[in-house]
């Protein structure tokens, strides 16, 4: 289904991604971990064609998406949604409009310029928001929402694209633990229910372990680990992060262990 072959990206002398190769044969939830500068973001950005690769191929359903141009490239982008760490919404526009941006590639230029979207798109956008538990904020401006809510709007925009793949670049790094959990739960549910492939860059090992079916570890642009969460031992993690023996996972953990907090989150999920 998805094959990455010797994918390489160089910025001048600096190789951000170095001959990365792997294969995915069925929709799954993949976590990419690695320390800052390892090339995780660059990899996702190449996949979404926000950045051009220097070398290598990226086959999706047999087609090399790195060769696509113009309308075909935009078609691929709409099949391959991206979720950003900083949400990258249009803060001054309302939530539904932001979600509707997911349809831009499919709709006519002129109509969208005047914000004219078909009614069924609007309904679907609200359905998606409802599914993510933020339909009540549909008419608000994106900037008026909390970080977790904004990230869920970003996920809604991604879903609106009806993509085959969802890429998420550190989707929870700007969020507090409670919101982080809400967002990761949403992503997981999308994978479980819709069967879409989700590839997420993650900062924290425990999140990767808890939510992913497969974990890829990167270091200095190269893939140094590719396995199941169970294979991801502390020793392996030390290798990935290039850390010494004093490495402790808890330092990077975002999991909420407090039973009270978990209860609050449950309540909140029901309320919104």
């Amino acid at each position: 289904m998805l094959t990455v072959e010797h994918l390489t990206k160089r910025f001048g002398a600096n190789t951000a991604v170095d001959r990365a190769s792997f294969t995915v044969d069925r929709p799954m939830m993949i976590g990419i971990i690695g320390r800052s500068g390892a090339g995780k973001s660059t990899f996702l950005r190449m996949m979404n064609r926000l950045t051009d690769a220097t070398e290598g191929r990226l086959l999706f359903e047999g087609r090399d998406v790195l060769q696509l141009k113009g309308a075909e490239k935009r078609g691929w982008q709409s099949d391959c949604a991206m979720i950003f760490q900083q949400f990258n919404l249009v803060p001054r526009m309302d939530v539904v409009s932001n979600v509707l941006h997911g349809t831009l590639a499919r709709r006519g230029t002129l109509a969208t310029m005047f914000n004219l979207y078909p009614r069924e798109d609007i309904h679907r956008a609200i359905d998606i928001l409802e599914r993510l538990g933020i339909a009540a904020h549909a008419a608000k401006r994106a900037e008026a929402l909390s970080g977790g809510q904004q990230q869920r709007v970003a996920i809604a925009r991604a879903l609106m694209q009806d993509p085959k793949v969802i890429l998420a670049d550190e989707p929870i790094a700007s969020l507090d633990p409670m919101n982080a959990q809400l967002v990761m739960d949403s992503l997981r549910r999308i994978h479980d229910e819709d069967g879409r492939t989700v590839i997420a860059n993650l900062h924290t090992l425990d999140t990767a372990r808890r939510y992913c079916d497969r974990v890829i570890g990167m270091r200095d642009g190269r893939i140094v680990f590719d396995g199941t969460p169970a294979q991801l031992t502390t020793g392996v993690a030390r290798d990935i992060y290039g850390a010494g023996a004093d490495f402790s996972e808890n330092a990077t953990s975002t999991e909420i262990r407090d039973p009270v907090a978990t209860a609050i989150i449950r309540a909140a999920e029901v309320a919104v």
Binding site: I122, A135, A136, A138, S146, A271, V272
Partner: protein, 288 residues
């Protein structure tokens, strides 16, 4: 994230209604704007001596005449530059002095009319209105009145521009003041400092980079204003330009020389001030 009391029961209908309303308002605003523009244009076109579409092909006639008159006499240009340089200096001086005096007055006015800083809080509206009026009176009006009383020359222009500058900068400065941190002022008051001391030591250091940047911008505007006032007899380069331009064919070379002189001055000061301001902004960003 509790249930908001006004959360709609039917988010779809609610949003669609909102959307329809927004579209309606947006559409009306847009239509109104287009209508105003189109009808305004047609009205202006109708009231003008020459129509827009007839005039368009002739737009370059005047510059062409100027060029035709100047090109054969290119050799005379450096001489003209020398002749008119003193007038240019006068124009720049008018702008500089009026910016200086206007800025000083503006600092006082703005401090007196900023909430939290004002010496006499009750008089804030008075000072504000006063600045509004200073700002609203076109320089040309003040200059003409003063020319009547003081006679021609740079002083009426300088006073006219200074008054306007005081109003215009006063408003900008008081906006800056409003964002100033009041904590140092309170700190200074607590040691028993007088009003003047707490303003000078507590507010001015905070806001002076912004003041300076606005004053530079204003200086640039004032160079133009003082050139313009020359058009109505307040001396400087504008006066020379108007006389040369009005004479027309036969003295266009002088007009071109003066124009070049003035234009270069404006561009130089424009670049200079944006340079200084950029430098100031980046030094502010780049730590202490």
């Amino acid at each position: 994230m509790t249930q908001t009391p006004d959360a709609p029961h039917d988010p779809r209908g609610h949003y669609l209604a909102l959307m329809a309303q927004r579209r309606l308002y947006g559409g009306i605003t847009l239509a109104l704007f287009v209508l105003l523009m189109v009808s305004g244009f047609m009205l202006a076109d109708e009231r003008n001596a020459g129509g827009f579409w007839n005039g368009l092909p002739q737009v370059f006639d005047f510059p062409a005449d100027v060029l035709a008159d100047t090109l054969p006499k290119l050799a005379a240009l450096p001489g003209h530059f020398v002749t008119y340089f003193p007038a240019l200096v006068e124009t720049i001086n008018i702008a500089a002095v009026s910016t200086l005096l206007g800025a000083v007055a503006a600092i006082a006015l703005s401090l007196l009319s900023t909430r939290g800083l004002a010496r006499w809080p009750r008089l804030i509206p008075v000072f504000r209105r006063f600045m509004d009026i200073l700002r609203a009176v076109p320089e040309i009006v003040v200059a003409l009145v003063l020319i009547f009383v003081l006679g021609g020359g740079p002083v009426p222009a300088m006073l006219a521009i200074a008054l306007h500058t005081a109003g215009a900068l006063g408003k900008l400065f008081s906006e800056v003041n409003e964002n100033a941190d009041l904590k140092p002022v309170e700190g200074l008051s607590s040691v028993g400092a007088s009003w003047l001391q707490s303003m000078w030591l507590g507010v001015v250091p905070q806001v002076s980079p912004n003041y300076f940047s606005y004053a530079l911008l204003r200086f640039e505007i004032n160079i133009r204003a003082s050139a313009i006032l020359g058009f109505v007899g307040a001396g400087g380069i504008g006066y020379e330009l108007r006389n040369a331009m009005a004479w027309g064919k036969g003295r266009f070379d002088e007009a071109a020389a003066i124009f070049l002189l003035l234009f270069l001055t404006i561009v130089v000061f424009d670049q200079l001030s944006s340079h200084v301001r950029n430098a100031m902004i980046s030094s502010k960003k780049g730590g202490h």
